[in-house]
């Protein structure tokens, strides 16, 4: 028993392999598109997981700190720490800005965190955690900064002492971790010209610059140029408490908003990145349909190209099942090779993308099933044509 399909493939193997590779690239694009969508959602999740928090305490009636602006006084954390069920709590600030190193400029999310508290990067890729209370930074590898480099945030230089991976904002911007007081200053501090103008403006106000009250102006200026605000308080809940239980008194008595991880994920995935994710998902669906159509057409035309040989086979009395089996085997083989090529190229080019591309095994598996199903369906079309062919065509033509 010889394999008709194998024989046929061996007969025109160059054409077959090229077709399979072309198909593979198309499948690769589809898989990558799925990866882009998954990466987008994963970026949002990574933000929550990496913060290490069970509860986010933010300004009342805001959905901060990621989806909306939120501002709290930095002593709120002390009253939160006193609540039952709170294991640890820490201030945190988030500010998306340009960070420069020499001529190299990166859009990054600058996170101000308290050392050893929730919000600190959990595991490092290289280097060490921050030990000084000022002017040190831990950066994500996507920023492109290297250990020991000096990076500039507003008016201070920070030394890169550690590196992380997958520490990104919901928008995919890499994170730069700096000590909280520095971050508070960076968030609030204006440029020197603005500060001078503001001083002059205050000094020109007769209510604040009264000759009979020496020192009043100095006090007002000092009050203007300090910042005791943070964006959120990250809370870790003691074992044995539910996050909802701890959140309830914060909402009721502290007049603040508190979100559990489930709610935060809802805000991030369902609200913050919803439109962008739907855009990608829509494109993915169209791409999947187009890919399916192209696979079907390729198999169909491949069979049409062999219609004369099939007629000869029928003429010599080959059974219909044999012919159908040959076409089906070829289609499935094409799909399998295409899928492998697609998976490989998607894996190879995924890290090159500027934003994270997450290729999930589950997606790959369902992709494989879909490809095989489409190939099988497409081959039925081709089989119908092949079976209907008149053996006379072999000699007539």
């Amino acid at each position: 028993m010889i394999s008709l399909a194998g024989r046929d493939i061996l007969h025109g193997w160059g054409k077959f392999v090229l077709t399979a590779i072309g198909l593979g690239l198309l499948i690769g694009v589809t898989l990558t598109m799925a990866g882009v969508y998954r990466g987008m959602v994963d970026d949002a999740r990574a933000l929550l997981v990496n913060s290490g928090a069970d509860l986010w305490v933010v300004q009342q009636e805001t959905q901060g700190p990621y989806a909306e602006a939120s501002s709290l006084r930095d002593d709120v954390v002390r009253s939160v720490l006193g609540l039952p069920g709170v294991a640890r709590a820490a201030n945190v600030t988030y500010l998306t800005m340009q960070v420069t190193q020499g001529a190299h400029e990166v859009r990054a999310m600058v996170v101000g965190f308290e050392s050893g508290q929730p919000g600190e990067p959990g595991h490092l890729l290289a280097g060490r955690h921050i030990t000084r209370s000022h002017y040190e930074a831990v950066v994500d590898e996507r920023t492109g900064f290297k250990l020991g480099q000096q990076i500039r945030i507003r008016r201070h230089d920070y030394t890169v002492v550690g590196m992380t991976r997958r520490m990104v904002s919901s928008g995919g911007d890499p994170m730069v971790f700096i000590p909280l007081p520095d971050a508070q200053q960076a968030q609030f501090l204006k440029d020197n010209d603005a500060i001078l103008n503001e001083r002059a403006r205050t000094a020109a106000n007769p209510a604040l610059n009264r000759p009979g009250v020496p020192g009043l102006l100095d006090a007002v200026l000092a009050a203007q140029s300090s910042n005791h605000n943070v964006n959120a308080v990250l809370v870790q809940v003691q074992p044995g408490y539910r996050a909802d239980e701890v959140a309830a008194p914060i909402r009721r008595w502290k007049h603040l908003e508190a979100y559990t991880r489930v709610q935060m994920e809802e805000i991030l995935v369902a609200k913050l990145i919803a439109t962008a994710a739907r855009q990608i998902a829509m494109f993915l669906v169209i791409l999947a349909f187009v890919s399916a159509a192209i696979v079907a057409f390729i198999i169909y035309t491949m069979t049409l190209g062999k219609i004369r040989e099939i007629a000869v086979l029928k003429l010599i009395g080959t059974r219909n099942t044999t012919i159908a089996g040959m076409i089906l085997q070829q289609a499935l083989g094409l799909g399998l090779i295409g899928f492998i090529v697609g998976k490989v190229v998607a894996t190879v080019w995924a890290p090159v993308f500027p934003k994270y591309v997450l290729l999930e095994s589950g997606d790959a598996l369902s992709g494989l099933l879909a490809v095989m199903l489409i190939c099988a369906l497409a081959s039925t079309l081709a089989i119908r044509v092949a079976l209907k062919v008149d053996p006379a065509e072999a000699i007539g033509g």
Binding site: A126, R128, T131, Q236, V344
Partner: protein
Amino acid sequence: MKRATPLSRRIGLLLMLLVLLAGMAYVALRSGPLAPTRVTVVHAASGSFAPSLFGIGTVEARRSVLIGPTAAGRVVRVLVDVGDRVKAGQLLAEMDPVDLDQRLAAQQAALARAGSTASAVQAQLRDTTARREMTRLATQRTIELGRQNFISTGAVEAKLQEQTSADAALSAAESNLAAARQDLQRLGAERDALQQQRDRLRLLAPADGLVISRDAEAGTTLVAGQPVLRLIDPSSLWIRTRLDQGRSAGLAVGLPAQIVMRANPGQALPGRLVRIEAVSDSITEERVAQVAFDALPPGVSVGELAEVTLQLAQTSPAIVLPNASLQRLGDRLGVWRLVDGSPSFVPVRIGQASLDGQVQVLEGLRSGDAVVVHSERALNAAMRVKVVPALAANTP
């Protein structure tokens, strides 16, 4: 029907299949759930290090003086400018005396007049003394004559009364003189008081120093206490250093310090901690310590930012690990120890830490244990790990 397939085709197809399989295997091992997590490992070893404390501060003057009037008034002239060095007692500025000079002159005149009055009263006293002496002699004579009955008793009594009057007149004259002298004293004291006030309008340097600001010009009216000039003692510059309360254990007077000025970040200046403030900042959660330079560098400006590193004593030997190896699992602090190639979480108790990222481990590890330092992902006990020398390509 059977046709020999060329060998090259078979080989080509086989090669193609091999490449595909290799690609698939690579993908499965590198990115799928089968891929191991790459980690770097350090072997716990006993050691000691010199921990240090880090803070930032600003240059301030230990002794600074605000020079201003003690009463409201107008500035007449300011004699020094910012940057001038002044000596103790040097005249720096003067306030408008308004009518003080005239009042002083009036007081002077009143004093002179009181002096004249005193002289007149003195003369009066001499006159009264002379009269009393003459009366006394005349009375003695009259009493003698009266005893010999040359004159009547009435005449003697009249003389005695004269004598008493003369005595009283003398007392009155003496009291007048005392009053005139007291008047003189009072007016002198009043004049001195005015002079004091007048002197107070001349603003003098209380000690040697440097003028750092000139806050009022001639013609400005100031209230009491408002400064005209500010002086500092340039030899008393120190750094008001703020240290995070959570990282200030071991702070003690006398610790050696390294000071890096913002203006000259390449150079570390030696210094010493000279005072720890008893009150720390409860809002910023910082402690305040004063660090003095061993030798004052030239060109230091007040208000300049400085980074201060305080050196503590060498720690006692213990197991030392990089701080990147410390992880938090739930509410426990620990490290991932590699046992037979698979990670297991070991809770540890940590001691002191150094600024270059070394941490003492007091409990939980033995010397020689392999501990995960860096990892690609957050570890868990079920993960397969692969030990590599370094994870980030750009690690120096």
